[in-house]
């Protein structure tokens, strides 16, 4: 029997095995793979290698990393972290409150327009955003002039849009809507029955939020704020256009190290960028961890 079966197999074509057919569907991934290789993998490899090279001598060195904890570099990290933290917290808290008001409490017909606006505004950044703020609340901006006409000139009180606080206000323009977009699904997942069940067992609204809603939403809230932090940390064009590099941010310092006339040190720039990659990588990992936890609860 075995011989016959073997002979038949040897003579004829091998029987088709299900699931082993050659598939061309993977070709759809080619553009993505090419794009990732050209604009992510190769630049990252270039960055990693360059961060260990002394720009003057071309020797291998750890000096570029050692300098990250010194003067200008350390200050850039601290300033970037401060601005990112402030805008993540303020944008996160107010974005959550706005999203909750529209989704759970307020008129539901506002939801569509708010979401559409948030989608547009969260992507409105860079030079156009900076100019928009200059034209409205800049020293001679439209709103400033209007307020001055009313006898309330914010610039007389020491406020300026070209400062750290001014930059934070500008960042909030895209941080707030981004928070609304990210947190909306989590708020949607907060079931009405949870509130009713807690009320049914004697809980007040405060107790519902303390014991149920906030613990359930916390992973999403923290995850979203972490994402806002990363979003602000990586911004460059808005800050550069608004302050002309006056505020020492990591992204602006990297630009100065790579292309500047005064601070020209490519190795130091690459090391700064690697530090930034590490910070953004950690924020993304933290976001994913919290998101997974939240999804399990809100399923």
């Amino acid at each position: 029997m075995t011989e016959t079966a073997f002979a038949r197999n040897a003579q004829g074509a091998p029987p088709a095995r299900p699931g082993r057919r050659f598939s061309l569907t993977w070709l759809g991934l080619v553009p993505f793979l090419v794009f990732s290789t050209l604009f992510l993998l190769i630049p990252t490899a270039y960055l990693i290698v360059g961060s260990f090279v002394d720009s003057t001598t071309g020797d291998v060195t750890l000096q570029n990393y050692a300098r990250l904890t010194e003067g200008l570099q350390l200050n850039a990290y601290l300033t970037s972290i401060e601005i990112s933290l402030v805008t993540a917290l303020v944008g996160g808290i107010f974005g959550f409150l706005m999203a909750y008001a529209v989704i759970s409490g307020g008129p539901r017909r506002l939801r569509g327009p708010l979401m559409t606006f948030s989608g547009v505004a969260s992507n409105f950044a860079g030079i156009p955003l900076a100019l928009a703020f200059v034209f409205t609340i800049g020293r001679t901006g439209l709103v400033t002039a209007f307020l001055a006409g009313l006898g309330i000139n914010p610039y007389d009180g020491g406020f300026t849009i070209y400062s750290k606080i001014g930059l934070e206000i500008v960042y909030l323009y895209f941080q707030l809507p981004l928070m609304i977009l990210i947190i909306a699904p989590a708020i949607d997942g907060l079931k009405r029955e949870w509130r009713e069940a807690s009320e049914n067992m004697g809980a007040t609204t405060f107790q519902f939020w303390r014991y149920i809603a906030l613990p359930i939403l916390m992973p999403s809230l923290l995850g979203s704020m972490i994402l806002l932090f990363g979003n602000a940390f990586g911004a460059q064009a808005t800050a550069y256009q608004l302050t002309g590099g006056f505020i020492n941010l990591v992204t602006i310092l990297i630009g100065n190290q790579l292309t500047g006339d005064v601070l020209h040190n490519k190795g130091a720039g690459y090391a700064l960028a690697m530090g930034m990659v590490a910070i953004l990588g950690i924020t993304l990992l933290a976001y994913q961890f919290l998101q997974r936890r939240s999804e399990r609860w809100l399923r």
Binding site: E193, E196, A197, S198, N200, M201, G202, I212, I216, R299
Partner: protein
């Protein structure tokens, strides 16, 4: 005074009347079911008892105390939701103990009560599990324990078994009934499943379009439907148009044949009425009487009606065999149910047959025409 009393309850959502003229008096320890199709207002009524909806008119009293305008968290009413509504951030023990924690009971008391309830729902040793680690049936048991933990005055269950598969549903409804009897807690149960309502309830409130159609024991609801809606909604029913021949004698004309009913007929000769026959009340025999396919449980009743017909098709439903027949020149469909057994000689489709049923089984439907309860009760007793 009844333990749970709903008087003249109405609820409107804009122009839509969700519940109208709802009156109910449930005694302490009674198990009452609200039965009806989707959108009939049963869940809205339950939510009004819980305090999640305010009645547009009427009042709700529990144990003699008016709670109509009381907040849900002050009513001490336990509710089990269709979707379980367990708190996903808490484990089973914390879910069950939540209400007691809110009431600031000592931790030792909470732990003891949680342990008791875990034993009651047969989930001992699973207090540290999270809801997502439990099956649907287990989650619903935890939801029940959570509702019972606060020792509520009234237990409300909103279609608690509808998300579960058939076998678990049957097992769990036995458990619910057993626990309810054990604790003697007044319970209101919402369902659209007639079998569930018939099996569990002391009394059933059948609802349609926001109104009560009938309140009665499962026996009354099934055997003496007060309206055509109740008759058609509860159980399978053959509803047929007939004409009154002699109202005082209970004579009707159906499919060209004269039949009799013990129901009181309101109307003159020639008036149209709808008559209802339960499939299990009809006997089915071959024309010469040699093959008895189905025997009416009311066979002892006198003066059987006989209608010639034809077998259209046969459906095996497990323990029951349903024979679809047609009678008269208009081929009016009539279903006949009989218990399945290996010796059953089922006639082939197209075979001529004779349907027999006693006058007592022939109900006349309509809001104004109520079957004669005395005769029907006698028939039911004969059946038992």
């Amino acid at each position: 005074m009844a333990f749970l009393e709903l008087s003249g309850i109405q609820k409107r959502f804009g122009d839509v009347a969700a519940v109208q003229d709802f009156d109910l008096a449930a005694e302490r320890g009674e198990f009452v079911s609200f039965l009806g199709p989707s959108g009939c207002g049963k869940t809205t009524t339950l939510r009004m008892i819980a305090g999640f909806e305010r009645p547009t008119a009427g009042s709700i009293a529990i144990d003699g105390k008016d709670v109509t305008h009381q907040a849900p968290n002050q009513r001490n009413v336990g509710m089990v939701f269709q979707s379980y509504a367990l708190f996903p951030n808490m484990n089973v023990a914390s879910n069950i103990g939540f209400g007691l924690k809110i009431r600031k009971r000592p931790k030792a008391d909470v732990d003891r009560r949680v342990a008791e309830l875990l034993e009651l729902i047969h989930l001992e040793g699973r207090g540290d599990r999270f809801p997502w680690q439990l099956s649907g049936g287990q989650q619903q048991r935890v939801a029940l324990a959570r509702a019972l933990a606060i020792e509520p005055t009234v237990l409300l269950l909103d279609e608690p078994l509808s998300a579960l598969d058939a076998k678990i549903r049957v097992a769990l409804r036995h458990e619910i009934r057993q626990i309810q009897r054990q604790l003697g807690i007044t319970t209101v149960y919402v369902t659209h499943d007639q079998e569930e309502a018939l099996e569990l309830s002391d009394r059933i409130v059948v609802m349609s379009e926001g109104r009560i159609e009938q309140i009665g024991t499962p026996f009354e609801i099934y055997n003496f439907p007060a309206t055509s809606f109740v008759a058609s909604f509860v159980g399978t029913l053959n509803a047929m148009d007939a004409t009154i021949v002699d109202a005082s004698a209970g004579r009707l004309s159906l499919a060209g044949h004269e039949i009799r009913t013990t129901s009181k007929l309101a109307g003159s000769a020639g008036s149209a009425v709808t008559i209802a026959l339960r499939p299990e009340m009809i006997a089915l025999t071959s024309p010469d009487g040699s093959n008895v396919v189905a025997v009416s449980p009311m066979k002892g009743m006198s003066g059987s009606n006989r209608l010639p017909g034809t077998v259209a098709d046969i459906a095996f439903l497990g323990s029951v065999v349903r024979v679809r027949t047609t009678v008269g020149p208009d081929a009016i469909p009539v279903f006949v149910d009989t218990f399945n057994n290996p010796n059953l000689a089922v006639p082939a489709a197209g075979s001529p047959i004779v349907l027999g049923f006693p006058p007592e089984a022939c109900l006349v439907l309509g809001r104004d025409v109520v079957p004669d309860r005395t005769d029907a009760l006698a028939a039911a007793e004969a059946m038992l």
